[in-house]
């Protein structure tokens, strides 16, 4: 390893795969923002690209690029930690590589079809070949099947590697969570005439992903990240992970009911959904406590400052974007008026960014540190302004945009929903209100700020650590117990109880 140089050829197969997945993820992230900007501009100038690249196409690419790049980010992170955590090399290196290329070619074809074919006649062929027309999971059925096959191959690699090596608390949770995550995707893979039935299962995928299985997945990644950047003690981190799983699934699974208020499903969901989803912020508070406690305990002396900063951004972003902004509209009495307005969009943006963008970025910094030969990434970085400015611009952009959307949402809830009774006329009364229009302008401005932040972030990814010859700071560690030692402890504890 040469410090400060690119050491790609010295990485293991799994680590090389991470680099590939992260690279595609960042390309898609940039695409996401570009299509978001076009869609946002169409709010202000509706004739822009009218009947060429309509709003629904841009929006679909915007949110699909997001879902896919985040999944790529998770896969990249898991490949990165699997060998370290299991203690053995990846079991199916060839398969893993093949899967990456198949998946990436499939994603490319899907996006090209979205852009150039866009839609089709009202029959099953369109759903199989072009577009399923269901928000977030628009990918046509052939791609669904391909995705599932790739996921099985990925799962085989991850679980197989842990089986060949050693298990730990983190890997146990991770593997079970992956089973649930992949299984849930199947709930979105069928067609029915019955719209309430359609939306019932559709939310199984969307909600039980982002508010249950994805949260637990990033909990695992976070746990591993805290051990690596701070040298946090494994036993404490693992215990916290279990606490978070209990709280997250305890509230999030039945919290699903907050999407069953108005889609034709029975009235008991008003109570169940309202109650359990109102508890969903609790685990997110626990995660903030966890991260800040650990960081504080180690006096913020980390081996990787940018990664730690983004991990802390994750803890707060998750709590505010998902916890606070979700909670604001989760009681049915409020949701009746906010449902399907810019409130949802405000929360959706802040939550996805705060919870998932942040942690993937943090992880990419860990990857780059290794790629650069375990280079120094603590204080006094050469060009350290770049990571700080990109972090700042991305956050200013995102927070500003969410606030603008929230104001638009308030206005819409009052004028369109509460006063106007949600007719078409009332909808447009809301959309032409000066406050709404101003909010759309602010969203646009903050969107541009975000995009500048992203470009700077990508530049930083390329440049950080280049030409620096200081080696990584060793984490001033509480000793990290080996996982084996741990499982012995566990066995003793189990036997004793």
């Amino acid at each position: 390893m040469k410090i400060g140089k690119i050491n790609y050829s010295e990485l293991s197969t799994a680590q090389k795969l991470s680099v590939k997945y992260f690279t595609v993820a960042m390309v898609l992230f940039l695409a996401q923002l570009i299509f978001g900007l076009v869609a946002a501009w169409q709010f202000l100038a509706p004739d822009f690209l009218f009947e060429v690249l309509d709003f629904n196409v841009n929006r679909m690419v915007h949110i699909n690029a997001m879902v896919v790049w985040m999944l790529y980010g998770f896969i990249g992170a898991i490949f990165w930690l699997v060998e370290d955590e299991s203690g053995v090399p990846l079991v199916g290196a060839w398969l893993a590589n093949a899967t990456f290329y198949v998946l990436t070619v499939a994603v490319t074809i899907v996006v090209l079809v979205y852009l150039f074919v866009q839609s089709g006649p009202g029959d099953a062929w369109t759903l199989w070949l072009i577009n399923e027309g269901r928000e977030y999971i628009e990918a046509p059925r052939w791609a669904d099947i391909g995705i599932v096959i790739c996921m099985v191959a990925f799962f085989y690699n991850v679980a197989g590697t842990f089986v060949a090596g050693r298990w730990s608390g983190i890997s146990g949770v991770l593997v079970l969570d992956l089973v649930a995550l992949a299984g849930l995707y199947l709930a979105g893979m069928f067609y029915t005439t019955n719209l309430p039935m359609d939306q019932y299962w559709w939310w199984w995928v969307i909600h039980l992903w982002v508010e249950a299985t994805w949260e637990v997945l990033v909990g695992c990644i976070m746990a591993w990240g805290l051990i690596k950047t701070l040298g946090a003690r494994r036993r404490i981190v693992t215990t916290w992970l279990y606490v978070e799983v209990a709280l997250m699934f305890g509230s999030g699974i039945l919290g699903l009911g907050h999407h069953y208020f108005w889609i034709g499903t029975p009235e008991y969901w008003l109570g169940i959904g309202g109650f359990f989803s109102a508890l969903e912020p609790v685990p997110l508070v626990a995660m903030v406590v966890h991260a800040v406690y650990d960081a504080g305990r180690h006096s913020f002396r980390s081996s990787n400052h940018p990664a730690l900063a983004w991990l802390i951004a994750h803890a707060f972003g998750n709590f505010i974007g998902a916890g606070v902004f979700g909670f604001m509209q989760t009681l049915p009495q409020i949701n009746m008026f906010t449902h399907g307005t810019q409130w949802s969009s405000s929360h959706g943006h802040l939550a996805f960014f705060g919870a998932y963008t942040t942690i993937i970025v943090a992880f990419i910094y860990l990857t780059i540190q290794r790629l650069r030969g375990d280079v120094w990434m603590s204080g006094d970085l050469h060009g350290g302004w770049r990571w700080k400015w990109s972090l700042g611009l991305l956050h200013v952009g995102m927070v500003g945009m969410s606030m603008a959307l929230l104001i638009a949402g308030y206005e819409q809830s009052f004028i369109e929903r509460a006063m106007g009774g949600s007719t078409w006329q009332a909808y447009f009364d809301g959309q032409t209100q000066p406050w709404f229009i101003q909010a759309m302008w602010w969203r646009m401005i903050f969107g541009v700020i975000m995009t500048v932040g992203l470009v700077l972030l990508l530049v930083d990814f390329v440049k950080i650590g280049a030409g620096d010859d200081r080696p990584i700071r060793a984490v001033p560690s509480e000793a990290i117990p080996e996982p084996e030692a741990q499982s012995e402890e566990l066995a003793e504890a189990a036997a004793g109880s």
Binding site: A39, T239, T423, Y427
Partner: protein, 253 residues
Amino acid sequence: MSEPGIPTEWWASENFWRKCAIFVTGFMALVLVLLTFHTLTVIEAGSEAGRVPAYSVINHRIGYVMDDEKRRMMPVIGPKAPLFGEELTEAEAMALVDHGKLTVQARNCMNCHTILGNGAYYAPDLTKAWLDPGWGNEQARELLMTMFLKDPPTNARTFGTGRRMPNQELTDAEVRAVIAYLKWMSAIDTNGFPSGFKPLPQGPLTEAPQSQSGASHALGTSPPLAQPRRPSTKSPPPLASAPAAGLSMRGAT
């Protein structure tokens, strides 16, 4: 947190929380599965519960009125008022609505509009589009909806936003199917969402004594082209067969 070497309290131990996590997750998943079984029977189209109507509801006039007992708005299924004057069997109605839903998915409507409040926020919600006062009145509605869907940019009102719906190049069959789908959708009981919505003026929602002729007059369309070929078991839908007193028409009159 305990210091290394000092035994952890049971409530802070890894083992305790691992068991907790497994138990809580298993229990919640079980409850969700049980609720799902129940919900799926309730939301079957045309089920007893009456929340999701049979597809042949498109043969009837549909209202949306305040229910005084529940203090929320409820769809009400009124007398016969067949879509495009053509009465369909349950199977035919289902095929038509199905084609409508396929078309709505194939044209990606949900990435501009919301449907039952879910989707995108660039264009109005479609949940009660069939009942929207913007269509003027019951007599004009089918024609106006057809004209609009055949050529949205030309017929767009945009209400000062400048936002027009792009032409979806719908075929005649797709247009009819989409309208059928929207009519069926407007009869789903959505627990009062959207609240305070006032539908366009329509004929009576209760069965008049000489119901059949009364209904088709009120519609102003030609009398039904076809009589129901086979009375379906699921038609008329449960709400219509409920005693009129239970339907609470107060809001509509």
